[in-house]
Symmetry: C2
Subunit: 183 residues, 2 copies
């Protein structure tokens, strides 16, 4: 008793996910300049105009790529140890961006204030609020650490992943210790 979930009518040639994935593959392989409607469509074997059935503009494509490439990290905070949870999430974000410089470049030109960054801020707010931070303190604290993580990740991604990845952890500890103390 298999229930058909196949949509009526002629099957689509592509899906939005396939478009985003093809664009991300191109980004990883050849950098942001290679990501064009024509190139992406070529990878998928469709006309470049087909993409306009799924996306309003190139900006929409870049947004879809960010949404597809980056998960918003879960925040479990199992031991109620907010400082450790905070550190863990920030390291996770940092590592994800450094490991994929093309995606970092994408964030950078596209959405330093997009939904992905907003979602992260929200999760961190939920983490800090029950731990002795007023709302205003938490908002400021989140700005400080998020900006630090983004800045470090973008700088590291923009050079050949050159210098001192351990300096990142050092600064992160200074910030988190300072926040705990000043709470």
């Amino acid at each position: 008793m298999t229930v058909s979930t196949r949509p009526r009518g002629r099957p689509k040639k592509v899906t939005l996910e396939e478009i985003a994935d093809a664009a991300l593959a191109l980004l990883d392989r050849e950098g942001l300049d290679a990501v064009s409607f024509r190139r992406v469509a070529g990878e998928l074997g469709v006309s470049h105009m087909t993409l306009y059935s799924y996306l309003d503009s190139k900006e929409a494509l870049l947004d879809a790529m960010v949404g597809r490439a980056l998960e918003v990290p879960e925040l479990t905070d199992p031991h109620g140890n907010w400082a450790d949870s905070l550190r863990e999430v920030l390291v996770e974000i940092h590592d994800a961006l450094v490991a994929r410089p093309g995606v970092a470049q994408l964030i950078l030109t596209q959405s330093l204030d997009g939904p992905w960054v907003l979602a992260i801020r929200d999760r961190l707010l939920a983490l800090l609020r029950p731990n002795g931070f007023t709302r205003a303190q938490a908002v400021d604290a989140i700005s400080v650490v998020v900006n630090y993580v983004l800045g470090t990740a973008l700088v590291e991604a923009s050079r050949g992943s050159g210098a001192s990845p351990k300096a990142f952890g050092l600064g992160l500890d200074l910030l988190i210790d300072g926040l705990r103390r000043g709470r």
Copy 2:
């Protein structure tokens, strides 16, 4: 006895400085996408091909714009108070980028590791070294604060200069105090 410093031959129609300034005006007015060889040349009343007499490529134009727009701050350190001098310079950099979002965008896409950032790192190194930092400590410390300042300035410049400029100073104090303590 005026000595003529005027060069021989037909006078040039433009100078490299005029090209960079016209491009920066365009950047401030209409954003990075408006900065093209054709638009800049149009502003100056010359053929777009004339720019190739002064610049090898568009990348060279963007580099020239950064060099023209941003001074590398002086570092006097008059009272030998390195922490205050450090803070002052970092605030200066932050404010310069936030005040001119187009230039921040330029840094971002072009030269997060360009000569301007390198020069700043050098000056900060000269500031920290005589104040109880080993070379390795100083290099890490500079990475931390520079990445923080760039991250904050880029995020603030990318939104409509929206949220909490005071959070910047808060994080900066946490970092500098932590560095002093851990030195």
